[in-house]
Amino acid sequence: MTARSILTLLLLLSAPAWARNVDLSTVPKRDTVQLTIYNSEDLTLVRETRTITFKKGANPLQFSWANTLIDPTSVELKFLSNGEQLEVLDTTFPHDKPQMLYWNVQSSFDGEAKIEITYFTSGISWSADYVAVADREEKAIGIEGFVKVINNSGEDYEDAQVRLVVGKINLVEKIAELAQINAPDFSRMDESKQNYYRFSAMRKSIDSADRYFDAQAAPATRPPAPKEIVKEGLSEYFIYSIEGTETVRNGWSKRMRSFAASAVPLKIQYRYRPAEYGDQLVRMYLLTNDKDSKLGTTPLPDGAVRVFRDNGRDGLSYLASQSVKYVPIGDKIELNLGRDPSVTFELVKLLASRDEIWMERGAANTFLRVGQPGVQIAVNSWVVGWDDHEIYAQRVRNYTAKPIEVEVRRTFPGHVVFRSSLKPTLFDYQTAQFTAGVQVGQKVDLLFEIVRHQGRNAKQNNVTLEAAEIKP
């Protein structure tokens, strides 16, 4: 299926550099290769070093990348040794041979030199995912983070040093600065042009971040141990560097563990938040990405979390699978396990009534009875304002083996008074929130009254909380 790609560097021996029939002397192999893979854009920086023997004078160097996804404008050549004796005079892209270029290198010495070729390629990506296994009592949870590198670039990368970048540049100023344009100009550009600059800014930024990171390159290999993944925060980004080297062949993907934390303390809460979790009470595992919780070494990149629980019979129960958004260090990790059949949650309407009814008077109508005496003056009037009163019981029954905490958020559009003794708080101007504990086997009726000012009685569009004793 995959066409074998050719990524070759040829040192052309003879002078007729662009001749069609060329003698070639050496095919210098890669000495090292390093991949820096970005996760929110299809972008990877490849840096490779090769050793080449130069001759005094002009050295035509051919670089070709048939069947790969390399951006030709990004290919750069640098000299890591003998830099002062070597110079790239020009770079030529022959029109009849796409995916190829020639560097015209002027050498002032005969001998070996180390060169570095960098370029951007698409087709390599990475993603994060997590496996969480709660203990039987659901007091603590073990979490493992994984990163998976997927190579569809058309090129095999063997023994590559791999770095993974988390983050995204969105700041206009940053982009403008990196792309060397005016910020106001950027804001005025259309989307495709903005994307172009955002992309080029990203490249610059990754490149510099990458070089900075090079300073702390960690050597040493201990084969039978899982590789250490070094995490480092860097301006907008977070970079994971995988210890040692990895071989990621074209078409393959590879998953490695990025961290493991055991006995992470865990809290259970039941939540009713229809806007977030749909019209149901869901069970949540709440934990925190901080040092106290045995986490907090790294922000958690976007990825799927699969949650299991020790079923106490030497096996696992599968609880849920969900995707989490980037969790910064110190922030909360909230895992929604869905509905719990052992907790019932229903809203029961106990009473409805209306009062404060206002009528608008229309014009007076006069009626005369035909053939008989009789005059009637009738005034038309119609309802224009009223208050609806509704008394509800939020009924929660707990059939689990432990007391539970339930948090309820309910949104009431319009001009509403929320009356209860539940000590509610306002989540926003039209959403009331309250919590309650429910003991094992207990049924709890959380009573509240809703007064809706309707028609001309509605003067606001918000919820007011009022402490009051509500009786069914």
């Binding site: 299926m1 039978p224 590789k227 062949r249 078409g251 393959w252 009528m359 009037s381 609806d388 059939y399």
Partner: protein
């Protein structure tokens, strides 16, 4: 699924020719047969398979191949865990990485071992097309006071994989140890509950069950069995999962054969809740419902109260006394007398002329649904049934 078919062989070839140097010290092994399989059916939406295998490892890095052609396994869900080895064995085994070959339902674990030896590993994964459902079969006593309720689990295997002796667990009840053949459905008795008391109900509810004969205004009167999922009913150990319930009644001494009474979908029933099963129409209880009175009372302008009286003519042609539940939906009444539903809550009051003894059933009624009970004697010895007249007087308040 996890199978040692020709695929791993092909895989070895690819490995060797692509990276001869790197692979030199690496031994590729395919997974040996299953030692133990457990299928966890406790999650309502996903089936977790856990299998244990003993993997021979050499010191250093090992490649372990796992492939699952033609089955639905999400590779991301595959867990590989090493079961703690016996104390005397000091083998330290770790998963170094996982590689996924292109266009193939397979993966290769790179496993590091501190020494040569065998490791017991547990592989867990979520398997599609292996599902379960529940069904119930119940036999009522001749006097319809009690049931023997049998609960069955049906395991449907369309996963394209067979398992030998497999432990299965539904999240409650007992565990099963059975082989699961390729593409078959297996029905197993989960539990049998004896002496489950039943409440038999007759319901007259126009909004729920409609008319039996609309021109004559006769209501359809369904008969239900109500089973409470609690300890007092010999149940209450776990919620009852959804499933079809077929109910039979036992025979007499002479004629032992059971007779089928009807079936219904039993809804998911948490502990302490009731499972209501609609078995059939009680054709010997006749209820004619008419709106006897409908007066508008103007409060002001377009604001009205409605004085409504509903009349029920009830006859019990059965030769045993029964209790009839009369259920009225206040919204339905408003639509009947006003012609349309304005969407507002119904504000209402019960009138003095209501004849139902004891008033509405507080436990069963909600604000919009009122439930009354009527006791009806058996029909007389001459075969004639007495006609009972009942009235429900309701004032709908503040309507416009």
């Amino acid at each position: 699924m996890p199978r040692s078919l020709p695929i791993p062989l092909a895989f070895i070839a690819i490995c060797l020719c692509l990276a001869p140097i790197a692979q030199a010290r690496i031994k590729l092994i395919t997974l040996p047969p299953r030692e133990r399989v457990e299928i966890q059916l406790d999650n309502p939406g996903a089936t977790l398979v856990e299998e244990e295998r003993i993997v021979p490892l050499i010191k250093g890095e090992n490649q372990v191949d796992f492939s699952w052609a033609n089955t639905q396994i999400n590779p991301e869900t595959i867990l590989f865990r090493v079961i703690a080895p016996a104390a005397e064995q000091k083998l330290d085994v770790k998963v170094l990485s996982v590689s996924y070959p292109p266009n193939e339902a397979a993966l290769v674990w790179s496993v590091g071992a501190s020494d040569s030896g065998s490791a017991r590993v547990r592989i867990s994964y979520i398997l599609g097309n292996l599902s379960k459902n529940f069904a119930y079969r119940a036999v009522a006593t001749r006097d319809e006071s009690k049931l023997v309720l049998a609960q069955y689990m049906r395991l449907q295997n369309l996963a394209n994989e067979e398992y030998g002796k497999t432990e299965m667990w539904a999240g409650f009840g007992k565990e099963f140890l059975k082989p699961i053949g390729l593409n078959e459905t297996k029905e197993m008795l989960m539990a049998k509950f004896a002496n489950v008391p039943i409440r038999k109900t007759y319901t007259a509810s126009l909004s729920e069950f409609g008319y039996l004969d609309q021109p004559q205004q006769k209501l359809r009167i369904p008969m239900h069995y109500v089973v409470k999922n609690d300890k007092a009913s010999a149940l209450g150990t776990a919620p009852l999962p959804e499933g079809k319930v077929r109910i039979f009644i036992e025979g007499t001494e002479k004629e032992k054969a059971t007779t089928f009474l009807g079936e219904d979908w039993g809804r998911f029933t948490p502990i302490d809740d009731e499972m209501r099963l609609y078995l059939g129409v009680a054709q010997d209880i006749v209820v004619k419902r008419t709106i006897d009175r409908n007066d508008k009372i103007r409060i002001a302008g377009n604001l009205f109260d409605h004085a409504v009286t509903i009349k029920y003519e009830i006859e019990n042609f059965k030769d045993s006394p029964v209790t009839l539940d009369i259920v009225e939906n206040l919204r339905q009444i408003r639509t009947e007398v006003r012609g349309s539903d304005n969407g507002r809550d119904v504000q209402w009051e019960l009138g003095k002329d209501t004849t139902f003894e004891g008033g509405p059933d507080k436990e069963k009624s909600t604000f919009e649904k009122q439930v009354f009970h009527v006791k009806l004697p058996a029909r007389g010895a001459d075969g004639k049934a007495e006609k009972f007249l009942h009235k429900l007087q309701i004032t709908l308040k503040n309507e416009w």
